[in-house]
Symmetry: C2
Subunit: 238 residues, 2 copies
């Protein structure tokens, strides 16, 4: 049993922020600040404006499974359940748009285009969630790490020097991939030793051999989570 994601920074609940455009509220988050919690009444829908926010669930004894790392443009909650089914916490300093849920039903009733786009997104989320299940259920540690790096690489958050940032901790990666932080560290360094990646600092890397890394990732599955890059027109709450 493990329970290593400590609460060193007291996960205080984020307060309400200033008003943004769109009638929607904009909320700022410090690193490790909690936005909402699994089981709470779902009063709002959130979209990331800047930074990186993760969603996760906890087992009763504190084991954690991270479900997604959401970037600018990604939604943190979708769908129409009464309660949140995951918790959300900022990884870096972030800001999120907040849309009150009250409006949602009305919008859905009136705007069928909006509804169809929501269905599209949910469909995609579901596919991504199953991708992750296949990875957690059937891939080796090495394949998971390679998959994860391919995923980061394809997302393409490149720093000026052509490197890819790794903004989350080893612990976060471990809880996303169903491993321990030690194993995450070891496997990353094994890929480096194999010459498939460059790792000048712990939180920066570059893929040296895309095809071989993809090969190591187990392939066949794992369509990366490109969410916001779907080319699909942005949709807004009115």
């Amino acid at each position: 049993m493990q329970e290593r994601h400590d609460g060193r920074l007291q996960p205080r609940h984020a307060g309400t922020g200033s008003n943004g455009k769109n009638g929607a509220c904009l909320q700022r988050l410090q690193p490790r600040e909690t936005l909402f919690i699994d089981g709470e009444r779902a009063h709002s829908v959130f979209r990331v404006r800047s930074g990186l926010v993760m969603t996760y669930r906890l087992l009763s004894d504190g084991r954690r499974q991270i479900h997604s790392f959401a970037r600018t443009g990604d939604f943190l909650t979708l769908g129409t359940g009464d309660l949140y089914t995951v918790s959300a916490e900022a990884i870096t300093e972030s800001s999120v748009e907040v849309f009150r849920r009250g409006k949602l039903d009305n919008i859905l009733r009136e705007d069928s285009v909006f509804g169809r786009q929501l269905i599209q997104r949910l469909t995609h989320e579901l596919s991504v969630a199953r991708e992750q299940a296949a990875m957690l259920g059937r891939k080796s540690a090495m394949e998971r790490i390679a998959s994860f790096l391919v995923f980061l690489d394809r997302r393409g958050d490149r720093t000026p020097d052509e490197l890819i940032a790794i903004p989350m901790t080893r612990n976060d990666i471990a809880d996303y991939l169903g491993l321990t932080l030690e194993t995450v560290s070891r496997m990353i360094h094994r890929l480096k030793a194999l010459g498939l990646i460059d790792l000048p600092r712990p939180d920066r890397f570059r893929v040296l051999c895309p095809p071989e890394l993809a090969e190591a990732a187990g392939e066949g599955l794992w369509q990366p989570r490109l969410d916001s890059d779907q080319g699909e027109p942005d949709w807004e709450f009115h």
Copy 2:
């Protein structure tokens, strides 16, 4: 690496069946018959009328992750992607309603109630998929088996003698829980030895100690997949 779900019964593609009510087609499936395959163009939506059908994905080397066991009333596909993102195969002799996808967009455009119900279902599916991810990523073999038996128990397919049927093979269970069939067998028998369940035959069991079994399941998470029991009114294609 493992690849134990053999193709002993050649997974021939199911042919088109007879016409049912509703304008929809009804299709019969033999055990181990494949209904559709991951990556195929998604021309239809399916709902189980009788029997048990599973959905799954394969990694390129044949490792399998089963995502759901769908009973009467459950949908096999939801959402509006162009391609199926899972494969589906009958476990027992089954029949499924087939709704051509062509109609779907029109229905969604015209019937906002239908669209909202679809969103509800997708939302629930997504929550279930994340439940499974948490299990695969963070639960022990024992907890997974206990969770699975609790899930079967709560679904409540009781035989006349108050036993619960286990219609899928050990191999199927293993590929659902991310384990091997041997481990599945061992853990089930350990639960029996502990007196938490009765297992008069390999494919029949009874929960003797619901609270202790739930305890062994790791609790806290794992809301069972009650899909069809939501009390929510059935929705039909017109």
